[in-house]
Symmetry: C2
Subunit: 216 residues, 2 copies
């Protein structure tokens, strides 16, 4: 029942989406909507007319991005070699997050993406855990690891990205390798149990790095 937009309005809508995508990628999801408008070469009012809340922009931009990541997890589970399946997934997911700070926000925080995006995000954790379990069954991941450990691992690497990626792009691969080697070859008994699922959620949901200044 929604009338189609006027031609110029539709063009502007696309421009806003493109601008939002770029600004979110560079500076995270909680940039000022004014900055997105400016980056799109439009007035603030136009952005607010088309996307009354930040949430609308998030939902319009990130559902497919997250679905993509879920898809990678499923690829990994389908891979003949469990360990390669796991590492290829982690590499792809981290590379995507390295290139897009907004995606990190969406993947971890619960402050954004309350509708469809939240649903998809929820599909991620169980699949990631399955990747680990599958490796353990094949004996290529230490037995005392847990599914959630991979999530926390990703979390730590995401934090590193936050600070290091703009300065030393790609450095994350080094430390991801270190962590994965720990998962694979480590023998020192892990001294405390993994977090309960519920706590895991509470940890990730606090994800909220400081606002990055606009370049201007």
């Amino acid at each position: 029942m929604t009338k189609p937009l006027r031609r110029d309005a539709e063009i502007n809508r696309q421009r806003i989406l493109k601008a939002a995508q770029e600004v979110f990628a560079a500076r995270g999801v909680d940039v000022m909507l004014d900055d997105i408008a400016h980056h799109a070469g439009l007035g603030v009012g136009t952005v607010y007319r088309r996307f009354p809340t930040r949430e609308d922009l998030v939902e319009a931009l990130f559902d497919t991005r997250l679905e993509e990541i879920v898809g990678w997890a499923e690829d990994g589970l389908r891979h003949a070699d469990p360990w390669t399946g796991l590492t290829e997934f982690v590499e792809r997911a981290t590379a995507a997050m390295a290139a897009d700070r907004g995606l990190r926000d969406i993947a971890f925080s619960r402050a954004y993406g309350r509708r469809r995006v939240a649903e998809i995000r929820e599909m991620l954790a169980p699949r990631v855990e399955a990747l680990v379990t599958r490796c353990q069954e094949a004996g290529v991941v230490r037995a005392d690891a847990a599914g959630v450990d991979l999530v926390l691992t990703q979390f730590m690497v995401a934090a590193l990205l936050e600070y290091a990626e703009p300065i030393a792009p790609g450095l994350w691969r080094r430390y991801l390798t270190l962590l994965l080697d720990g998962l694979r070859f480590g023998t020192t008994p892990l001294p405390v149990p993994p977090p309960e699922v519920e706590n895991m959620d509470r940890i990730a949901e606090n994800w909220r790095p400081p606002r990055r200044p606009s370049a201007d």
Copy 2:
């Protein structure tokens, strides 16, 4: 030549230091000075009179804390077993940072501690690197690791602390173990070189997690 403070003023000075220590530990070094005053049961004016800038509080509180950590590194270097020397140092340092968010700020960021504290901080990195080198010479740390890798490792764990420690205290031990196991037993060739010292500085200096809300 500085006159001694009036008796009540000296007492209040101590109160402020105690309050600052506690509030910094709980919520980091960039809390509002108003909060410290309130926590000390004093007026804001009193705090500003005694410590005109946040920097003065930082310098008064953190130089011995950092010296302590430097001392631990030296203990580690003196330990008969290089690997135990390394792990004991990392454990102690991380435990201290887990208990004090202000200490994390001081140890990593360059936004605080510009005088004596900065000097001490600078003594830390070379000693940490020596701990690693010593282990490599003994063959108990992978040869392709670098001294700075331990610093980045600490950095990642510090980021984890930021989010996880209030919810799952002590969880960091699990992931520190994983990382150290990676350093020790890992065999996957590290895919990118470690950061230049100069970049290392630029990464750490950006440390600035979001402000934590006061509990009131």
